[in-house]
Symmetry: C2
Subunit: 340 residues, 2 copies
DNA sequence: ATGAAAGCGCTAACAC
DNA sequence: GTGTTAGCGCTTTCAT
């Protein structure tokens, strides 16, 4: 268990000042006009002694940690873990490391994570904010810490964000169902005020209206984020037994997975009795007997754009608030009743 | 954008020394015999000024960061992200934060992550090591940094680890298939030297032998981690067209997902033509027309036990190497050909 | 072209 | 009980 070797040690090793070593090891030999032979000597000494810089000390001195704090609803959800992976890769390219936390869509947990991460001086935040947490986001901004919202945002809050147009995307799904001659179209959503969910609901209702379909409030099922399985199952059963709709639009893949299980249990035939479209992908969709049609948002794009935005802020390239809209497309497969 | 308030600011605010403030804010007022009224005054001042400690400074001083470095093969894989979530929660309970990185089962990437994390002075590592990286793990140990291996380990390397008994678990699966009158049993695995994979293969072969079934090397398909889909599809096709086995054991859920897609493409009927068992869960398994039997390892237990081990090391409760074996059980469903 | 030294914010040993 | 201060490892200004 060898003792850690510090910058001072390599300086002493060759009898020079720490300043020189610092310059060289940070590639600033030009600015500091360090002699060419000196540079070599220092490089060699550092290698010989297996010098590894102490980034904590550097962070303290520099006032930045090269760390991004990522707060998602739940890292174990493939939607978020897939994005996390993209973010990790993009961040790494620029020397950043990611610390993560899961809020469970809970404002209190989210606040706690923000505090913990702030305390550790993350340079920036990437957050999929829980409902009604604009004040938290605002406070981050006020402290001068860059923050980018992902997937959701707060109307009226001046914050950078990247997301799809959920209103339009949901609309595409509903249009497809109508095209396939479905008119009694139900929707399964979360009971949250979050923008992405509201927009999806509005998109759904708007397209119904455009097609002179009178929305019935029983058609809209709103499940609680905690206890998805149970909630979806029971409420869906009420809507499907007896069958009061001929199509169902799921606002997320988790809702769809829970819903499809109940649909199987009830023995309802997709798409003949009930057409199905979901938001987002899932391995499960490929294996459902009637491959599930879904709204595909490119998680890669979301991740890449998010990090790009963060880095722009970090490098002070821009002060202005940016709202990046990523494309979403409908992947039409059997479950929506299209003859393929 | 208010300026950060430091401990010194709090001290000055009420005209006391930083030492006092430090003691009180760290709950050491007893040891330091700080006056009761003083304690209150300091607490109030800290609150009034919205003091938030700078953990980077604290880390530098203390030589520990309260950070755990988590290195998995791929955080976007539900297997790892589920464990990550457990680790996050357990770590948080003890004031630890997790930084993560994905190695893609690649030794070089893993080494890079270890270096980056070391440089940031993580207090401990949790790693699902890539193949042939025992030297890397050893070097962590030699530097005196606690490390716990998850899911895999290195025979002969003295390192803490938590995992299931892969030999036995795989055996259970094969026994079940044999019980269901299958004797031409194939296996789809990764072509890696990693212990978990080797043990699963050995378990498979051992049970065949116990049952006087002569193992044929065409039965064992070994796919590359990169390009799973293609590799599994093509090699599986060779084995299944014409059908040379009556059962198939997949060594991981990713392999199974890829494999089942090919099985569907080939129009092979599960379980009648081909019985199936996989390792680990997947949403997809519930929706395959013949619900997939799988070996279930409790990711919760793995996560909890791992963090427990890490904390033990961190608190120096023990010096000795511990090998935690977590239970695995076979979830029997239709795909393995059992009449249910 | 190189060195000395201040100081980032905090803890804790020591002095009073 | 409370204050003073060294020092964690690093960067960078300012001398020389």
């Amino acid at each position: 268990m060898e003792k850690k070797v510090a910058l001072k040690d390599v300086a002493q090793h060759i009898g020079v000042s720490t300043a020189l070593v610092s310059y060289v090891l940070n590639g600033k030999e030009k600015e500091a006009r360090v002699g060419a032979d000196m540079v070599k000597k220092i490089r060699k000494a550092a290698a010989d002694l297996h010098y590894q810089p102490n980034l904590i000390a550097k962070s303290l001195k520099m006032g930045r940690t090269k760390t991004i704090g990522l707060i998602v609803a739940d890292i174990s959800n493939p939607f978020f873990s897939t994005i996390a992976r993209i973010i990790e890769d993009e961040a790494k390219k620029h020397g950043y490391v990611v610390i993560f936390g899961s809020s469970d869509e809970n404002a209190e947990k989210q606040l706690n994570l923000i505090d913990v991460f702030t305390t550790r001086l993350v340079d920036a935040f990437i957050i999929t904010p829980a409902a009604s947490t604009e004040a938290q986001i605002e406070s981050i901004i006020n402290r001068g810490i860059p923050v980018v919202l992902m997937d959701r945002f707060f109307p009226g809050l001046k914050a950078d964000c990247v997301h799809i147009n959920n209103f339009t995307a949901a609309g595409k799904a509903i249009k497809q169902l109508i095209k396939n001659n479905r008119r009694k179209i139900g929707m399964v959503a979360y009971d949250t005020k979050q923008s992405h969910m509201q927009d999806r609901k509005q998109g759904y209702k708007a397209v119904l209206k455009d097609n002179n379909i009178r929305f019935k409030k029983e058609w809209l099922i709103e499940a609680s984020y905690k206890n998805i399985e149970k909630d979806v199952a029971s409420k869906l059963k009420a809507l499907l037994k007896p069958l009061q709709v001929d199509a169902l639009f799921f606002a997320t893949n988790s809702l769809a997975v829970a819903g499809l299980k109940e649909i199987n249990r009830l023995g309802i035939k997709v798409p003949d009795d009930l057409a199905i479209i979901s938001f987002d992908e899932s391995d499960a969709f490929d294996f459902f007997y009637s491959p599930v049609t879904y709204v595909s948002q490119s998680l890669t794009d979301i991740g890449i754009e998010t990090v790009k935005l963060v880095l722009n802020k970090l490098q002070n390239k821009t002060k202005k608030i940016t709202d990046v809209i990523v494309e979403a497309k409908l992947m039409v497969r059997e479950s929506c009743g299209s003859k393929s």
